[in-house]
Symmetry: C2
Subunit: 316 residues, 2 copies
Amino acid sequence: MPTVLVLDAPAPAPPPRLGSLTGRARVLHADAETLADRLPEADVLLVWDFLSHAARRAWPGAGPRPAWVHTASAGVDHLMCPELAASDAVVTNARGIFDQPIAEYVAALVLALAKDLPRTLDLQRERTWRHRESRRVAGTRACVVGSGPIGRAVVRTLKALGVAAVLVGRTARTGVYGPDDLDRLLARADWVVCAAPLTDDTRGMFDERRFGVMQPSACFINVGRGQLVVEDDLAAALSKRWIAGAALDVFEREPLPADSPLWTAPGLIVSPHMSGDTVGWRDELGAQFVSLFGQWEAGRPLTNVVDKERGYVPGH
Amino acid sequence: MPTVLVLDAPAPAPPPRLGSLTGRARVLHADAETLADRLPEADVLLVWDFLSHAARRAWPGAGPRPAWVHTASAGVDHLMCPELAASDAVVTNARGIFDQPIAEYVAALVLALAKDLPRTLDLQRERTWRHRESRRVAGTRACVVGSGPIGRAVVRTLKALGVAAVLVGRTARTGVYGPDDLDRLLARADWVVCAAPLTDDTRGMFDERRFGVMQPSACFINVGRGQLVVEDDLAAALSKRWIAGAALDVFEREPLPADSPLWTAPGLIVSPHMSGDTVGWRDELGAQFVSLFGQWEAGRPLTNVVDKERGYVPGH
């Protein structure tokens, strides 16, 4: 019977749905401390704690390594290391689970910013009635960076609201603009949405220069990874009114430290990495792993296989 | 030359675009105090102050009355009185201007409630990182009450987000449910949206009984008129957790008094009657009146004519 090693998250509970592996696999659990010791026993590693970097740290150690690593996340930046990339191990991700929830979350942020909802809630707290004009979303322009399933779902959802949304990816292809078009598209966007994977190419891509080309009326939204944004540069761009507003759901350090200046940056909405996590998401992630395990057990090719060099599942 | 009398709003400025009436009409201005005195001179009354009840109070007075009354609003409840209803005067409204902006505003509220955005902003203020699960909007059900252009735009926009949205109107017809279906539809709705006109039939329609049939997970949104809702009953329904949340953009008394308990009702978003007022709205309202004036001047039938008995423009 193969051994599945689960890198558990500290809270709130181990993955659901693994009961259906009973009699098909031995399921062991590890935390960040014990992972390195138990890794040689594993045929399969399930990275349930998608915030932890423990797998990346443990992988280069001694002993045999599992042939298959699955992460309960869209991004794989927290687990990839040169040794894993160079190995024969197959890496799969949670492609598909977060697309629609994150697209809705982005739509919620775009509409909240357009309708000045944070200010409305501030005024409510002060019991102050102050009528303002707000922005119409239909007819505005969005530039969505990251052409994977999440970026594509964001484009679809914004288009449904009448927004002219374009997609920018690593390479230009039908329906997707390439990096050479990025600055031109940023310069005319009302909404810039970052849904890119974190790779060597994308790290820090939203910096002073990129915020500098955006319109003063533009808003920036990041649902990718915190390290895609130079946070100090974003805070400065907001303070100097280079852009009108922003929303971050992901951060360089998570949880965001209580003393971070981002909590109070002008015009910035801070949310705790929750954009994809709608009721039932843990259940869906567990079921997805069980489904992939069935493919693996039957010797069929796995779906959701990540290109370990690129750092994401290559798509259309 | 005909005389157009404008009931001005106290702030911020008289209607734009009336310059194009130069040489075609004499434009006089009145406020709530002077309206009654000037009304006999007017061939046309433009009710620019759509919050004022001055026109309703002045109409029954002595002297001749204008043949045409236009209000820069979708609702006509603030100006209708039995004498105006019984007269030969034609009443027109701002049908069409507010549909899409209000639909977007409702979408913003639905998404903000689904994604728990008010709580996120509260936690940000406390510099507290607290991950929560939120709700997926696609696949939920909405019941939109009010089958005019605004209600229909709300249904279209929610459907674009994957919400199964149904419309309830004064009479059942193709694509519109009637009053007999209302309670059944309320009982299964995740989102109840009120976009109805204020008439004798609709006044106070959202009361203790109606909140009592809704699901505990349901949220209620009012973008119609404040008097459609028994506000104390809504506050009680929220306090007792009969429903999960609500958002009001309109109130029995506007501005909402600073001592109103609604400001702090649990789970309630209070906004200052701004749902339809996107940048450029006053300009659009002014241009719409000028366009109608052109029809009137040429002796052509006016569009946007309100059925004075029903209190709205009869539609499809």
